[in-house]
Symmetry: none
């Protein structure tokens, strides 16, 4: 239920982000077309477009009209930096508070991963 409740476009975005961070998509590489990726993921093309759009807004992918979409130079580095910052600022404080409230031990959670 919790993974189902995340918007599809965010899950698509994460999948692309992971590929960029992992180096599977490198600067200059073409991304799959909206239609192809939509077919591949069983998603609506509009939903895929929404995921791509968020990367364009951040300048991490560039569009060459009539040709396709390509990973921008330095995409991995900038993506990593911005995700690290937003995680620490926006998500981690609440997560840390929950961990404290539920009396978990952070080191223990991280070492054993529990998942």
């Amino acid at each position: 239920m919790s993974s189902d409740s995340r918007p599809v476009y965010l899950r698509l975005r994460d999948a692309i982000a992971a590929a960029i961070l992992d180096g599977r998509y490198r600067p200059g590489d073409p991304l799959p077309s909206v239609r192809a990726f939509a077919l591949d993921q069983g998603a609506n093309p509009l939903t895929v477009a929404k995921a791509y759009q968020s990367f364009q807004d951040e300048g991490l992918i560039v569009v060459r009209r009539g040709v396709g979409m390509f990973v921008a130079p330095g995409a991995a580095e900038r993506l990593l930096a911005s995700e690290r910052r937003s995680f620490l600022d926006e998500q981690w404080p609440r997560i840390a508070a929950t961990i404290r409230r539920l009396d978990f031990d952070l080191a223990d959670l991280i070492q054993h991963q529990h998942g």
Copy 2:
């Protein structure tokens, strides 16, 4: 923004859960009436009722018709247990994956947990 975007009824639920976990509401204690709590929180009575409802479904509060709602025996213990379980099962796996993906270590996180 992230706390603002959470549904009101869930934030009310969390406030009540915190009070039960803290021992401010103890078994047998009456909860504020739907109307009183709604006024207090500037929310609609239906919204408050929705928050209360979720506790009823889990048997953490009992309703005495025409009288009021009361904290059930063992509510704090069961609440803590269910929250710990749901955190480990549903939230932590994704969080741990993110931590790995963004290459954080324990020191990074400890430093920022007091945000």
Copy 3:
């Protein structure tokens, strides 16, 4: 939850009806005063009065003002007759439909009637 959800005044009514049917309260016998019965049952006197009222409406108990309330002559017989009739007409059809729908047989039910 299901027994809790029945109105208190109906549960009180059933308790009195059972006593009349069983012969514990016989025609001419005094019923406990509203106040005494309320104390005994941990209920609100108004709630007890509501239960008593329903019997008065059916003429099964008679009030002698300033003295008390008494079981009417023929109360058990009339009560039995009216309850049997209302059970067959109003409750059993729905119950039978449920039994059919859930595909229970006589043995299933006999096994569980001593719960």
Copy 4:
């Protein structure tokens, strides 16, 4: 009168449950949209949503956001099991006691159905 006094959302719930049990709605089938069903039944969309909600909580229907609601795999089997259990545990004991108290014969009632 007794069916009239049941909350609308429970009657809607029963109608959907019957359709699932009958196989009119099969796993993977879409349920009518909240708005469409509300129009169809002359009810408020919120009331329909409340009926649907109870099935979601039990995992009998799954929600695809922005798309619709669908019957979950195994819904009929789980629904039948849970209804049988709740009938035997919560309703039947009281019904059996009534049958005994009113001096009916269970086998007779079931054979002749009386309704």
